[in-house]
């Protein structure tokens, strides 16, 4: 699964630490999501979606062969 988390974060000029504090997780979690090492829960994806004012589909995207 691909994600645009780093881009969305850059648009709002947020550091990993800022984003982590805003959605109540650790900086490691944000870093792992950005590196595609961890797929977040629906709850966390929805929190990000609300924060970035984008739909979940705009932030997270399935890759070829994942469906």
């Amino acid at each position: 699964m691909k994600n645009r988390l780093k881009v969305e974060r850059a648009i709002l000029n947020l550091t990993q630490e800022d984003l982590a504090n805003k959605i109540g997780v650790s900086r490691q979690t944000i870093s792992s999501i950005e590196k595609n090492r961890y797929i977040p829960s629906t709850l966390l994806a929805l929190k990000m979606s609300r924060l970035f004012n984008k739909t979940v589909n705009e932030i997270f995207e399935l890759e070829e062969g994942e469906f």
């Binding site: 982590a20 650790s26 490691q28 979690t29």
Partner: protein
């Protein structure tokens, strides 16, 4: 109380119990006691070799590992919960492998130490120790890999 309420009550109780964790401040305490008991194990074995003292050290090691294992992280988020679950699963599988390999290990340790080893792999204590120690080690390793 109808059956739905009763089952809700039960599942709430189970959830509360499974989420039981110690505060993050207990981790250094657990680590400190683990180091002290680990050192005492060797000191006792190579000096006074007291059997009662040895039993106390064994249980001390188990309790200190349990404290480390049950301690929360400063930020206990979903990634940490997943890592924790993974570490328990891997430790459980590792424990089964250990039990399967135990006869061979017993033979090798006996051969090397001529029956005088302080760490002869037998008994429930050692299996529990290996389960807890591998869980704590795997948890820290997986956490480190996510940094």
């Amino acid at each position: 109380m109808d059956s739905t309420n009763a089952s809700n009550c039960k599942s709430k109780g189970i959830k509360k119990f499974s989420r039981f964790q110690l505060a993050a401040a207990y981790k250094p305490i657990g680590r400190m006691f683990f180091c002290l008991f680990f050192l005492s194990l060797f000191i006792n074995a190579f000096t006074i070799n007291n059997l009662v003292f040895r039993e106390i050290i064994k249980y001390g090691l188990l309790v200190s590992l349990l404290i480390i294992s049950l301690t929360k992280e400063p930020i206990e988020d979903e990634l940490i919960v997943q890592i924790r679950m993974q570490s328990y699963a891997y430790a459980f599988i590792g424990g089964i492998f250990f039990v399967l390999l135990q006869p061979i290990l017993n033979y090798v340790v006996d051969l090397v130490s001529e029956g005088h080893s302080i760490l002869k792999p037998n008994g429930d204590w050692l299996i529990l120790w290996i389960l807890l120690f591998s869980q704590v080690t795997i948890f820290e390793t997986l956490k480190f890999r996510h940094q």
